[in-house]
Amino acid sequence: MAQDIQDSRGVRVVSTAITVRRPQQDVYEAWRKLSELPRFMQHVESVTEDGEQSHWVVNAPGGSVEWDAEITADIPGSVIRWQSVGDADVPHRGEIRFEPSRQGSGTEIFVTVGYRPPGGRLGIGIAKLMGQGPGRQMDIDLHRFKQLMEFGSIATTHGQPRGAAQHEDWKDEQQESEREISNPHVEGVPA
């Protein structure tokens, strides 16, 4: 599970890892298509690519958060680095690294993100969005990515019956709007 530390300059560094049973190049390519990331990133509404830069829109309680980012390093099959540019709400930079799995076939993915926690209402909104922290959200999104890559769809119970007493005290939004999410690239599992 994700680690979350704060360095001496007040920058939070979150890191985590997951193994996905798909070739390194496939996994890299799935991440490199930035506009497709919202398929598994729960709170990312859209990513629009424009040359070297991309524009991110993220749903947060009380409105959306937006920023621009640029890719600072791109080694096909092995690493992507990026950072926010301009006047971002949450200035951050990150790295995703792909290595062959040491436990049989597949790819080990390592993600590290450094950011300055925002204050004020925005900070509260983002904190709520991230639940128990951005590391946890990162783990959830990576697990969703893994499901999409390995099986072709993301497991869900959204739309199943339940008794009248159902309280909304569990995070149901976690499973919202994902019944149509599937990966046409996985062989044998039609979308």
Binding site: R21, Q147, A155, T156, G159, R162, P190
Partner: protein
């Protein structure tokens, strides 16, 4: 449809809810013909799982007929008669490929909630709380079965439900517990808990070559079943000064070759340790009461194997680790890889080598679930196993 819903601590209701629909193309819908209440449902009933929500549909032991399939389902057909394993597995991940289905990495949409609550991203289970995926369970007229080409086992017509239903959980669970004992011909096995899993483990141990099986419990009718239906020797711990010493007496002072804890986190016992465990559990200082496990470890012979099918959920206390270390015991445990064992055990059932129907004490309608849970929990009315029949539409 009617469904058995969790409504709070020791509160079960039968409600009318919408029929389940195909959600993903790999789903099937099964019309339930028989469903059972499992001992592990009682852990939910007694409030040991913090990720239960009021209104959750219970049940993970069920069988029935396939009435609808998603567009990507290839092996299963509408009309197939199936038994469905209690744990949900994707069939393609690292662990499924190794036949370690209960560690499936893809079947639980809330795996990260499980990781936060219990420290690992557990697989999905039917009707067993949101940390195990929040899947609606099978104590209902219909149930949605995800990964339909992976779990459901097609079974032949002409064999009664009662003989097949327990392929969904307790028979494979008992069998894997016995297999985990690494039995050699002539071995002696002691089994704590003569409930359904313990009895299935006792039968399986004999099937796998054990010479002697000793069952430990306090419920007379369960010990009677162990004795008459599983050819086991029995110890009633309530009538016994020291269970560990009694077992050693029965095994020439050395202890059984293997021991099975088919009790788990809600063990009953006697004496100071029982009081200690209940107090700590009530104060939330420990989550589980490991009385049976402690005795099993103390009784096992040096070099023996401790097999644990009984469910543990969290932290336990006062483990005789020195005894385990000193005797060089091997521990094997865990959630059953049900899918792996179902075909083999179906063969045993069809060949007449295993007939688990003797454990059924109550056959009731689905509507009677609230009473059934109460009776099973309180072990009233000689209740060892309840099978519920959904009322025909």
């Amino acid at each position: 449809m009617k469904a058995v819903c969790f409504s709070g601590l020791r509160d079960i209701s039968v409600e009318t809810v919408p029929d389940p629909q195909i959600i993903l193309p790999t789903d099937a819908i099964v019309r339930v013909s028989s469903t059972a209440i499992c001992g592990s449902d009682l852990h939910l009933y007694n409030g040991y799982n913090p990720a239960m929500k009021k209104g959750d549909i219970l049940g993970h032991e069920f069988m029935g007929e396939v009435v609808d399939i998603g567009s990507a389902v290839k092996k299963l057909k509408v009309g197939d008669r199936v038994v469905v394993p209690f744990n949900i597995a994707c069939g393609v991940c690292y662990f499924c490929e190794r036949e370690e289905y209960s560690a499936c990495e893809l079947s639980n949409p809330n795996a990260m909630d499980a990781a936060a609550l219990i420290g690992y991203p557990a697989a999905g289970l039917f009707g067993y709380s949101h940390m195990f995926g929040g899947y609606a369970g099978g104590q209902a007229e219909y149930v949605r079965v995800p990964f339909a080409d992976v779990g459901p086992l097609v079974v032949p017509d002409g064999v009664p439900d009662d003989q097949l239903l327990f392929l969904s959980d307790i028979l494979p669970t008992g069998y894997m517990a016995a297999e985990n004992c690494d039995l050699r011909p002539g071995a002696t096995v002691a089994v704590w808990g003569a409930g359904p899993v313990g009895l299935m483990a006792a039968l399986s141990a004999q099937l796998l070559g054990a010479d002697r099986v000793i069952c430990i419990d306090e419920v007379p009718e369960r010990l009677e079943l162990a004795s008459t239906r599983c050819a086991a020797e029995t110890i009633n711990f309530a009538e016994c000064d020291d269970v560990v010493e009694r077992i050693k007496e029965l095994t020439g002072g050395r202890g059984p070759d293997s021991v099975i804890d088919a009790v788990g986190l809600e063990a009953h016992g006697t004496g100071l340790m029982e009081l200690y465990d209940r107090t700590k559990q009530a104060l939330r200082l420990q989550t589980d009461r490991p009385n049976a496990l402690r005795e099993a470890i103390q009784a096992c012979r040096p070099g023996g194997t401790v097999s644990i099918p009984g469910v543990y959920a969290g932290i336990i206390d006062k483990m005789p680790m020195g005894s385990a270390f000193g005797k060089g015991l091997t521990f094997k445990m865990g959630q059953t890889h049900t899918h792996k064992y179902m075909p083999l055990l179906l063969d045993h059932v069809l060949a007449g080598e295993i007939d688990p129907t003797f454990i059924i004490s109550h056959r009731l309608q689905l509507d009677e679930a609230p009473d059934a849970y109460r009776a099973f929990n309180d072990k009233d009315d000689c209740c060892t196993k309840v099978v519920l029949k959904p009322v025909p539409a």
